[in-house]
């Protein structure tokens, strides 16, 4: 709750640089995690730059991009952190879990091992992040139907067990990429309004408009390809 109060105040932090765009209402920090090569970097690349490359360049440590979205006339700046999946980067990547408001936990539907690791990643979130962080589970590469080894149902079931939202996605064919981010933003906004409602101290000086005025759009969790 405290965190949301702080997040709403993030807009005052910056002072220097002319190019820095300080004109936003909220800043959300999001993280993409999951095994190496499941498509985290491609997913972010697709969302932020609408591009895809089939070459695999293993991410070194951590990286991020900034994207601004609009929701009910509010400008929300997303800081989206892309993490490297390998064990050797665990210390540096988990250091960035702190303060994250949302996670996209990704596996590759053609890679059993990456699906098996979801539980561990979920534990990492619980260990290193804040209790109220929202999580969306994404089964990526759903364009590769012939090589599929993880069924949609087992993905959905696991998400239910872990209490996460679920999408099958394709960074390559641009399936459910935007939807995944939008859903995560919705979840964070819902949580935020909830805590603003229950904690009057936070409401003082906080934006008056609620972000949940309109119902979230209906989503198809499955892959339509």
């Amino acid at each position: 709750m405290d965190l949301y109060g702080k997040m709403a105040a993030t807009q005052d932090v910056k002072g220097k640089g002319e190019g820095g765009d300080q004109n936003f209402d909220y800043m959300f920090k999001l993280l993409i995690i999951g095994n190496s090569s499941v498509g985290k970097t491609s997913f972010l690349f697709r969302y932020a730059d609408d591009a895809f490359t089939s070459a695999f360049v293993s991410t070194v440590g951590i990286d991020f991009k900034v994207k601004t979205v609009y929701k009910n006339d509010k400008r929300i700046k997303l800081q989206i952190w892309d993490t490297a999946g390998q064990e050797r980067y665990r210390t540096i990547t988990t250091a960035y879990y702190r303060g994250a408001m949302g996670f996209i936990l990704m596996y590759d539907i053609t890679n059993e091992e990456s699906f098996g690791a979801v539980q561990d990643w979920s534990t990492q979130i619980k260990t290193y992040s804040w209790d109220n962080a929202q999580v969306v589970l994404a089964g990526n590469k759903c364009d590769m139907e012939e090589e599929r080894v993880v069924s949609v149902d087992s993905g959905r079931l696991l998400a239910e067990q872990l209490g996460f939202e679920f999408f099958e996605t394709s960074a390559k064919d641009n399936v459910n990429v935007k939807q995944t981010f939008e859903r995560l933003v919705d979840l964070i906004c819902d949580k935020m309004s909830e805590s603003l409602d229950t904690d009057p101290a936070v409401t003082t000086g906080a934006p008056t408009a609620k972000l949940t005025d309109s119902a979230p759009p209906l989503q198809q969790p499955g892959c339509n390809c």
Partner: protein, 239 residues
């Protein structure tokens, strides 16, 4: 990594050999070759001065010349499958303090096995003319990256390497030194973090001091792959 035209000396990287790396000599020889080509190309521009003293290539350009030459050469020599080079994004350069990262790759997975994070240090007067951080446009994300930590660029890179472990080396690559502006030197260590414990802070003086130790020991070939930090007495520091 000295790149003057004296007879070739075994590279400090030759000691990176690990018994479990398949045929390490293959890529180490190739790597040395790439470094030599990149260094001598860069050296051509280090001392450049136009007669009217109006044209000043930025530190960024020099770094790019080195990296482009290195990459072209390593692609030509077909060595990128076993030893790759990843240029950092503008954000990563600030977050991690590295300009690029070299990595020995594990064969089937292509996961990094040994890494060398590289930060280029330019002559102080050149660097002062610009900023402490790379002169990327002051975009949103650059500001966020800068504010992510209050450490300086040297410390960020050392922290990054330390967070990975002993198989990640930090290489500070000097494009010119005070008394030798036309040469390229490097200080490589996987133990810079000891300086943080003992000296509180890493700055250019500390790294250069390292370097003196390095040069003194250079008579013994091979030995100083990396100098253990000698700040125990504290006397050599902050010279």
């Amino acid at each position: 990594v000295t790149a003057n035209n004296t007879p070739p000396r075994p590279s400090i990287f030759s000691t990176l050999r690990r018994p479990n790396v398949p045929k390490p000599n293959d890529f180490i020889a190739l790597f040395n070759d790439c470094i030599a080509v990149a260094s001598s190309r860069t050296q051509e521009y280090l001392l450049f001065k136009d007669p009217e003293d109006k044209f000043h290539p930025s530190t960024e350009v020099l770094t790019q010349v080195f990296l482009m030459t290195y990459i072209s050469q390593s692609v030509n020599l077909n060595m990128t499958d076993s030893f790759n080079c990843t240029a950092m994004t503008p954000e990563q350069r600030i977050l991690l303090g590295a300009d690029w990262v070299w990595a020995v790759l594990e064969k089937p997975t292509k996961n990094p096995q040994i890494q060398i994070a590289v930060q280029v240090l330019h002559l102080p007067d050149m660097q002062d003319a610009e900023e402490n951080f790379p002169s990327e446009a002051c975009s949103d994300s650059i500001l966020i990256a800068q504010e992510s930590s209050n450490k300086n660029m040297y410390e960020r890179m050392v922290d990054f390497c330390t967070s990975i472990g002993k198989d990640c080396y930090a290489l500070f690559l000097f494009f010119g030194k005070k008394n030798d502006k036309g040469n390229i030197y490097g200080v490589l260590s996987n133990n810079f973090e000891a300086a943080i414990g003992k000296c509180n802070k890493i700055d250019r003086a500390l790294i250069e001091n390292f370097f003196k130790v390095f040069l003194q020991r250079e008579k013994e070939p091979y030995k100083p792959l990396y100098c253990k930090l000698t700040c125990v007495n504290g006397k050599r520091l902050n010279v």
